[in-house]
Symmetry: C2
Subunit: 360 residues, 2 copies
C-alpha cells in the first residue's frame, strides 16, 4: 500500500491516522463485538461518541454556551435553503455578499424565499478579491448578512470578518472551518459541509446562536427546522452515525496537532510555500489579490494551457492526485486542507519546478 498525495477539493484527504483507526475498529469497536456503524444511534456507546465529538468541536473552536452545535445531513446546499427558512423571522429581505460560485448558489436559493439584497459583489473583477468592509452597503432591516468565507472554486478567502452591527452574520465556512482560529461570537450561524476539513461527505455541521431558533417560515419541512434538531441533540431521526464517528476522530487528531492554533501555523506555512513557488515563476500564475488568497484552495494556471494535460499526467505518475481545476475555471487547483501535509505540498512544489524545467 502506498498512500499518494491527495489534493482533492472535496471529498478530500483525511488524516491517515484517522483512516487507520477506522479500519482497525471497523469490525469490532472497542471490543464490543460490532462496528460503530452497526449500533443504534441511541445506544450508550454511540451517544458517547457523538457527545465527545461535539465537546471536542466546542473545545477546538471555543464555542460559547449559548450556541447549539448540530450534526445534520444534506450538505451546504441544504443550508442554502435552511438558512432563509429559519432565519428570516418575518423580515422581508436578507443581505448577501457575492464572491463567487458558492455565494451565488446560496443567494439563488434564498431568492426563492425572500428579497435578496446584494451587499457587494466582485464579479466585475472576476472574483479576484473580496469586497472590503467599506464597500458593503448593508441594510439594517435585513434578517441576516450571508457570506462565504472561502470560495473553494475561486480560491478566494475573506481576510476579515464583516462587521454587521445588530444584524446576525451567517457564514458558509465549508472549506475553511477549523483552518484557523475564529471568534464564534461574531456569528449568528456558521455552517459547513464536512467533506473538506471535518470528515466524510454526508455530514453538515451547524453552529447557531440559540436565540435565532424557533421561527421558521410556514411550510418549512420538519427536517429543515434547526430547532427540531437542536431540541433532539441532532437525533430527531437517525443521524449519519459513521460520518459523525469519523468526524470525532478527526477532532481528536486535530487536538493532537495543537488544536486550531497548531494547524493554522501548519496551514499558513503550506500555503505560503506554495504561493511563493507560484509567484517565483513566470510559468505558473494565481490571479487572486494576495491578501485574499485562500490558504485551503490554491488555483493556478500554466503559462501555456496546452501543457495542462501533460502536467496532470506527469503529476499523477509522480503520485500527485486531483490537481485538475474546477471545470468552470480550468487550469489547476491544489486543495491543501488540514489533512494535507507539508510533505505533500513540498512534493507538489518540487514537481512543479521539475515540470517547468523539463516541459516549460
Amino acid at each position: 500500500m502506498t498512500r499518494k498525495h491527495n489534493f482533492s477539493a472535496g471529498p478530500a484527504a483525511l488524516p491517515e491516522a484517522v483512516l487507520a483507526r477506522a479500519a482497525e475498529e471497523m469490525l469490532d469497536w472497542h471490543g464490543k463485538g460490532l462496528s460503530i456503524m452497526e449500533m443504534s444511534h441511541r445506544s450508550p456507546e454511540f451517544v458517547s461518541v457523538a457527545e465527545a465529538a461535539e465537546q471536542d468541536l466546542r473545545d477546538l473552536m471555543d464555542i460559547p454556551a449559548n450556541y447549539k452545535v448540530l450534526f445534520l445531513q444534506g450538505g451546504a446546499t441544504s443550508q442554502f435553503g435552511m438558512v432563509p427558512m429559519n432565519l428570516l423571522r418575518g423580515a422581508g429581505t436578507a443581505d448577501y455578499i457575492d464572491t463567487g460560485i458558492w455565494s451565488a448558489k446560496a443567494m439563488q436559493e434564498a431568492s426563492r424565499y425572500t428579497r435578496v439584497g446584494l451587499v457587494a459583489s466582485t464579479q466585475g473583477e472576476n472574483y479576484t478579491r473580496v469586497p472590503a468592509q467599506a464597500e458593503l452597503t448593508l441594510n439594517p432591516e435585513a434578517a441576516y448578512v450571508h457570506y462565504t468565507s472561502n470560495e473553494t472554486i475561486g480560491g478566494l478567502e475573506f481576510d476579515y470578518v464583516p462587521e454587521t452591527g445588530e444584524v446576525p452574520l451567517v457564514v458558509d465556512m465549508s472549506s475553511d472551518i477549523l483552518a484557523r482560529p475564529i471568534d464564534v461570537s461574531r456569528y449568528g450561524l456558521i455552517y459547513a459541509g464536512a467533506q473538506k476539513n471535518i470528515g466524510p461527505a454526508g455530514l453538515t455541521v451547524v453552529i447557531v446562536r440559540e436565540e435565532l431558533l424557533g421561527n421558521t417560515l410556514p411550510g418549512t419541512p420538519t427536517m429543515f427546522d434547526y430547532k427540531v434538531h437542536a431540541d433532539a441533540d441532532s437525533m430527531n431521526n437517525t443521524p449519519p452515525t459513521f460520518a459523525w464517528y469519523m468526524t470525532g476522530l478527526v477532532f481528536k487528531w486535530l487536538k493532537e496537532q495543537g488544536g486550531v492554533e497548531g494547524i493554522a501555523r501548519l496551514n499558513e506555512r503550506k500555503a505560503s510555500s506554495l504561493y511563493a513557488a507560484i509567484d517565483a515563476s513566470d510559468f505558473y500564475a494565481n490571479p487572486i489579490a494576495p491578501a485574499n488568497r485562500s490558504i485551503m484552495n490554491v488555483p493556478f494556471t500554466l503559462a501555456d494551457s496546452a501543457l495542462d494535460k501533460l502536467f496532470l499526467e506527469r503529476a499523477e505518475q509522480a503520485g500527485l492526485l486531483n490537481l485538475k481545476g474546477h471545470r468552470s475555471v480550468g487550469g489547476m487547483r491544489a486543495s491543501i486542507y488540514n489533512a494535507v501535509s507539508q510533505d505533500s505540498v513540498d512534493a507538489l512544489i518540487a514537481f512543479m519546478q521539475e515540470f517547468e524545467r523539463t516541459a516549460g
Copy 2:
C-alpha cells in the same frame, strides 16, 4: 476480535464480509493510493462505484427502466415531507394507511401540506394486524396512497400490496426493502432509509416512476425536489460517498446470497424458526396476527416483565446484543435483517430456551 450476535433495529448489523472489505480498502482503494472517502464524487473511480451500486440494485429488484433510482440524504423522515411536496401535483388530498408509529409520523408531516385521508387504521386493535384490502376506503381523487410495508417498532408487515387503481402507491419500505421479491411496477414511489437492509445510516434510497416528477409545491427547497436529484444522477451536490460505496458492497454481497430470492428463503427460515420458538412457549409471546408478523422485526414479551432486565443482562453475557424492545412498547425485539444469520437466530433461540428453563 469476536463478532457478537447483533439484533439492533437500526442502524443494524452489516454483513461481516462487507465490513472486512471496507476495512481492507480504507486507506487504499483498489491501489489508487487513497480512500474511497477521499475521492471527489465526480472522479471516474467514484462514479464507477456509484453506477455499479445503482445497476446492482436495479438487477436485484428488477426495477423497470421508467423508474429513477435516487441516492439521497435525510432518512425516511425527510421523505415524510418530500413525498407530499413532490407528489401532490395539485391534488387537495392524499390517502394514508395507519399501521403504527412510522405510518403515523408520515401522516403527521403530510398533514402540514395537504388534507390527509385516513384510509384505514388498526390502532383500535393496538396495531396487531394490518387492514385488509376490503377495509381500505380509498379516495380516487387522492394524489397518492401511502403505507408502511413493515412497522419496525410494532413488528407488523403487510402480507399483500394494496390495490389502488389509478392512484399511485407510495411505500415506506425502510425496514423490509430487499427482504423478499416485490413487483416495483406496482408502486409509484418506494423509499427506504439505508440503515436496516441497505447499508450505513445517512443514505436514503428512492425508487420513483419518472412521470411523477417535476411538479413540486411552491416553496419546496431545491434539495427536496426529486427531479433535481434525478436530473443530476443524485449528484446535485456532494452525496454521502462512503455510505453509497458501502451500499454497493452490500448489493454485491446480496447477489452472492442468491439475490433477493435467495435471501428471502433465508429470511423466511430465520423468522419462522424464531416465531415457532416463541409460540412453542408459554413464557414468550408475540401479539401480532400470524399473517402479518414481520420477517424482519420480531418483538416478544416475557410472561413476567420483572425478568426483562435479567434477560437482557444474560443475553448480553451470551453475546446476544440489542434485544431491548423499543421504549414505546417495552419487552424485547429481535431485528433479523438480511445481514443477521441463521446462526445468530439459532443462538438466540437456544438462549431463550435456556433462560426459560433457568429463570422462568
